[in-house]
């Protein structure tokens, strides 16, 4: 899977590219509008991660250009604009998704996965981790074939864990994923604890292993026991 990251902040671009590389994506970086246009003309990418403010142009114009030329890549806008800008002005028109800076890297990863899943023609809509399966169509999760009775938030949480398996997920990242970033609700991290606790209990009650480990004071990690 090939990703083009259009971001003028070199260090941020390096971090994102490094992270996506660890997740087995091929990630190329373009630091300017012209460089991005050139790369898009020469190669094809599955996903374009597009910053709006570029030193030599506006990312939105690049997006319009892409759509005019019939480029099929999915586009996720990465911007320092406020989320409200997108909602009020339709800034993200033509893009598949947008994410506002600063964002947790696992959140970006989850968004890319969601988009790729929507695009994929073969309907492999089941996520698997060890003996846990999650059907993305019916939103049903099973442990060893046994149906889990999960709330919507818990399902969401489990999918987020599976998409970012083996990675440390901060409480804030989980909170932002579950509730969005609209409230100044920093203590929603306490609720994250509750949700994770409930999810772990439901999985172990259904006979599954407790794959979720707590990293004290920081967050959680879904990993196979031998890891």
């Amino acid at each position: 899977m090939k990703i083009l990251l259009v971001e003028d902040h070199a260090e941020l671009a390096r971090s994102i590219a490094g992270y996506l590389g660890q997740e087995h994506y091929i990630c190329e970086v373009a630091g300017t509008f012209d460089e991005a246009r050139e790369k898009l003309a020469l190669f094809s990418y599955d996903v374009v991660l597009l910053d709006i403010m570029l030193p030599d142009g506006n990312g939105i114009n690049l997006l319009k250009l892409l759509r005019k030329e019939g480029v099929e890549s999915s586009v996720i806008i990465i911007s320092a604009q406020n989320a409200l800008d997108f909602k009020l002005t339709g800034l993200s028109e033509g893009a598949d998704d947008y994410i506002t800076k600063p964002f947790p890297l696992p959140e970006l990863h989850a968004r890319i996965k969601a988009i790729m899943r929507r695009r994929s023609t073969h309907k492999n809509n089941v996520l698997t981790f060890q003996d846990i399966t999650a059907d993305l169509e019916s939103m049903e999760c099973r442990v060893k074939g046994k149906l889990l009775n999960l709330t919507r938030k818990e399902t969401n949480l489990l999918l987020y864990f599976i998409n970012n398996k083996g990675r440390m997920l901060t409480r804030q990242a989980i909170a932002a994923h579950l509730w969005g970033d609209y409230t100044d609700n920093l203590d929603s991290v306490d609720f994250v604890y509750q949700h994770v606790k409930n999810l772990r209990k439901k999985i172990t009650d259904a006979g599954g292993k407790d794959y979720i480990s707590t990293v004290y004071g920081f967050g959680y990690k879904l990993s196979a026991p031998n890891q």
């Binding site: 260090e11 971090s15 320092a80 600063p102 964002f103 947790p104 509730w179 409230t183 920081f218």
Partner: protein, 424 residues
Amino acid sequence: MKLNYRYTLAYAVLTFFVLSIGFAIVYAALSRSVTRATIGKLEHLNEVVASQLRSGRDYAGDSSRTNVLVVPLAAPDTARRTRTVRVRDEWDAALQARVAMVRLTTYPVAGGRAYRVTSRAAVVEPSDVYLTGLVLVFAWTFVFLLALVVILSELISWRILRPFNATLRGIQQFEPSQPSAISLAPSHTAEFNELNEFLVKMTARAQSDYRGLKEFSENASHELQTPIASIKAKLELLIDSDLTEAQLRTLTTMHDELERLAKINQALTLLAKLEHFEPGPNALADLSQLVPATEATFADLAEMKDLTTTLAIAPGVRVPLDASLAQLLLNNLFSNAIRHNLPGGQLRVQLSATELLLENTGHAPSAPVGELFGRFKKGNAQLDSIGIGLAIVKRISELYGHRISYDYADGWHRLRVAFAPAIL
């Protein structure tokens, strides 16, 4: 009070005083000249009597002597005696009234004898007859002058102040956020042209300041968010590597602080955005649908705190509010009501056609309730919030003219959003 009314009023007071003084002068002059005329007549009469005495004939029964008293004097010491005039109110038998009586006394010498000749005549004082007439004349003059001034001031001020009024309207319609410069028509009056020049300069500066501020807040958002995003990404990558527990702890603290910084920056740029946001004219939010939907989103949070939620939603409540701003407002209200609630407490939500009322149980606020709408004001210092939610709620309400109020009584926090009357 309008400018020309003030002018008219000042002129009326001035005219009144001038006319009053004029009236007093005319009255005094009239009164004096009437007396002088009478004295003149009496002087003539005394001359006639003196020549009668000099002729030596007896005029005692003559009609000229009716009001004249002739007294022969013992010694002709004329050098001492000059004529005297006396004016005095006294009863007049002929007129059957008290009148001002003028007496003129002269001392003529006839045939070697000195006489004292005193003649008298009644003076018709202006106070008796003329006063009413005078007052009427002055009153009418005053009324006519005033009427003329009122009419003229309207006409003149309409003509002279026309450019000034146009300028006033221009300023009233001016918004620093408007894209074009203010346009003021030139006038023939030097002062108005000066004023216009000054206003054009000031408004241009206000506009450029406004644009500068807007650009700054937008740039600040971008310029701060990107480095924060970069640091955050680096920290996340670092945390995922092999670390000792002490290192992990330090990184976690750094990450939490950064998260807090990012939240504050986001909230501030959001507020800056809202400051400059111009609400569209036709935005309507269906609160009857949005309020229960938001409640459902927060249901799990409420459940974890064991809160009892009661909803009373009137159907079809649509108020002027952009849908995403309405969502933002409701999110902040609900999250506040849940966060500041007590474990096992209550949350009551009432939506009617005129207002939205959120009531929740909770500790008494430590700061005066009015201050909680300010930025970084927290009712409870223990909670790990940044205290900007209510400022956002307030700003959104103000944008659309809704009034928000907050009070605390008997363990209940009440947040009320009174909707602005719909413009039909």
